[in-house]
Symmetry: C2
Subunit: 176 residues, 2 copies
């Protein structure tokens, strides 16, 4: 059996109730990236306002001692992935994220960087969803139609990062 | 402007908290179908156990004075639609329902029956979702991948039959 070089940090959500952006997991991020990584490639595709999202992420990563480049500012997204030291895919709408990864031809190149080159991958929320086999278990609304529900397949199972038990006291509907 | 013969009853859900199957809307169903309709064609595709679902629906419609044929028991689903006096599409998973409608080639034939022949259409939950332009606004989990999110387009807008305001007191996550 082949041993794959996977270096993954899969976070359920970017913010805990009452805390700041990535505050609850900042120590894990620093420990995970270590001192070798200097710059992180950020993928803001899951949200509509990419500029604003990149600003938020840049501010946080710079406070932790890392430079941040947002892929939406790169002339060639594929080349940006090929040159990256580490990738961070943020949360938002999982359908919008996966569709944009396909539209920009990024699925195979990200897989190559993770499996063959062993660069670190951080995902949060939708960025964790797309790291799995498929997005068939997302809670998100299908606001756009990706060419497939198959995702990056960095782990051999699916994840629902926002699972909630059903509310036994709800009177919203009956069954079905 | 062309006037289309649309005869639609779109129900949000099949059961109200504490009530029986279709109990909360049975008077509306009888008023809507009237005395001309004798048999209803039931589409159980949104649930996995079609036999069980058809039994539940048949029991209810027979109690209201209508015969019920389930499309999953027909040798030719397209022919079943062509011969139907009225159509009832029940709730369950909207992705599973829409995919099966496409797989069986039923989208154009149902549209023809509604728009050109003016037969009555009843939808509940997922059956209401697929009556709209598309399922882009469903709350359901994408457990299967339909060939499109475009739906029957019986009305010129989308519906979210199970909309809930967000819970301002939730501490489940932060933002994003």
């Amino acid at each position: 059996m082949m041993t794959l070089k996977r270096h993954l940090l899969l976070i359920s959500n970017s913010t805990l109730h009452g805390g700041g952006y990535l505050e609850h997991c900042q120590e894990q991020i620093q420990k995970f990236l270590g001192e070798q990584v200097k710059r992180v490639l950020f993928v803001p595709y899951a949200l509509h306002d990419r500029d604003d999202y990149a600003r938020t992420a840049r501010k946080k990563f710079e406070s932790l001692g890392y430079g941040l480049d947002s892929i939406h500012e790169a002339a060639d997204p594929v080349e940006a992935v090929q040159k990256s030291e580490a990738i961070f895919i943020g949360g938002g709408n999982t359908f919008r994220l996966l569709k944009t990864l396909y539209d920009n031809g990024l699925i195979p190149v990200i897989r190559k960087r993770i499996f063959e080159d062993g660069i670190p991958y951080i995902g949060s929320s939708a960025g964790t969803n797309v790291a799995t086999i498929s997005i068939n278990t997302t809670n998100d609304m299908p606001i756009v139609y990706p060419p497939s529900l198959q995702a990056l397949g960095l782990v051999p199972f699916n994840i629902n990062p926002h699972y909630l038990d059903s509310d036994a006291n709800s009177k919203h509907m009956g069954v079905i």
